[in-house]
């Protein structure tokens, strides 16, 4: 069956401009200094936002398709903070991730979460 392939194509077309426009507009490579300084700060800001949102916000979708965000408290908080501490201390992302996964898996297997 290939009925949904056109939908995939439409979704790709909806996604591509946000990925491509700044990369393809040559002017983005030669912005004034304040704009370049701003873009330098986008990295830490957006990665921290991704981490925080994926840790403390959960989304449920109603049968009508409405997305309802809610505040989530769980062991994932502790795991992410531990990962941050390990990366800051040991400069080793993989070690931080492994510790975070082990912590969450251990707590869940023990039935505490």
């Amino acid at each position: 069956m290939t009925d949904l392939v056109p939908l995939a194509l439409l979704m790709a077309l909806a996604t591509y401009p946000s990925r491509a426009i700044p990369l393809l507009v040559t002017r983005f490579g030669r912005l004034p200094a304040p704009a370049l300084a701003y873009l330098r700060l986008v990295g830490p800001a957006v990665l921290a936002a991704l981490a925080a949102v994926n840790t403390v916000v959960s989304v449920t979708t109603t049968p009508e398709g409405q997305r309802i965000p809610s505040f989530h408290v769980g062991v994932e908080w502790l795991a992410v903070v531990a990962c941050i501490a390990i990366v800051a201390w040991r400069k080793n992302l993989l070690l931080g991730i492994l510790f975070a996964v082990a912590l969450v898996a251990g707590v869940r297997l023990a039935g505490f979460a």
Binding site: L23, Y38, V42, T55, V56
Partner: protein, 265 residues
């Protein structure tokens, strides 16, 4: 003056950092494949999503909406909304690739994901210059290939597979993003941008939607950090790449009109 790291060690660090991303792409690509199968997707349809859309959150949402019988127009609009954050990634990476040919940048754009951005921007900043190999590695080896292989495995496999969240794999993504943010927080302004980005991101997510929250955090964090008192930041985007064997202490080359003329000739 602090010497920039050599290319070899920086790439090895990138590969090690990428292992966690591979694990999460495999785990959740597999779950996506299973979910797509359950929603009635064929292997071709599920794989088409992973190859053409290549955006996990939007793909998971689409599976739910297709199963719920929602209109294609609604699904496409939601996809555009969920993936709007890529504008920020693309803008932040654009100065690093300004001298590359347009067709190459067009392909780079299709492969731009949260993971590819996080790994490559950290790699470039660690290295002090652009490394195209690093971008392709982050985009293809750690994300595109594992995600697509796992999608296929998930949609072809049966349902008797344990939930990866049971093994804590759901924490890999936020932990990796947080760890990579730490690596980028090399100064006071970067640290403030990260903290404000996280706070604004969560606030807007709870008030509206996580997709909007991530955009708001990514836009608002740098604004607050830029407003801090102190000397203005100067950003250099050394052009890509120094040939292997060139000493990293060699003077950095800035992207400027000369480079543009050179690349277009």
């Amino acid at each position: 003056m602090t010497a920039a790291p050599e290319l070899g060690p920086a790439r090895r660090q990138l590969v090690v950092d990428g292992l966690g991303i591979v694990a999460t792409a495999l785990g959740f690509g597999f779950v996506y494949g299973l979910s797509a199968r359950t929603a009635g997707f064929s292997p071709v349809e599920a794989s088409a999503m992973s190859v053409l859309v290549f955006a996990g959150a939007a793909q998971f949402a689409a599976v739910g909406y297709v199963a719920g019988g929602f209109s294609w127009l609604g699904i496409v609009l939601l996809t555009a909304f969920l993936n709007a954050r890529h504008l920020l990634y693309s803008a932040a990476l654009a100065p690093y690739f300004a001298t590359r040919p347009k067709p190459e940048r067009a392909v780079m754009a299709h492969l731009l994901t949260d993971e590819a951005f996080a790994l490559s921007i950290t790699h470039f900043r660690r290295l002090g210059r652009t490394d195209r190999w690093g971008y392709w590695f982050a985009a293809i080896a750690t994300t595109f290939i594992p995600w697509n292989l796992a999608t296929l495995a998930g949609v072809l496999a049966g349902g008797a597979v344990p939930d990866p969240t049971r093994f804590g794999l759901d924490v890999v993504f936020p932990a990796a993003m947080a760890g990579l943010a730490v690596a980028l927080a090399t100064g006071r302004r970067e640290l403030v941008a990260a903290i404000v980005g996280a706070v604004v991101g969560v606030g807007v997510s709870l008030a509206w939607d996580p997709a909007a929250g991530i955009m708001a955090g990514g836009l608002g964090g740098p604004l607050v950090a830029m407003a801090l008192p102190g000397p203005p930041m100067r950003e250099h985007y050394p052009a890509d790449p120094l040939p292997l064997g060139v000493h990293p202490d060699a003077p950095e080359r800035l992207i400027d009109e000369t480079d543009a003329r050179t690349s277009s000739s």
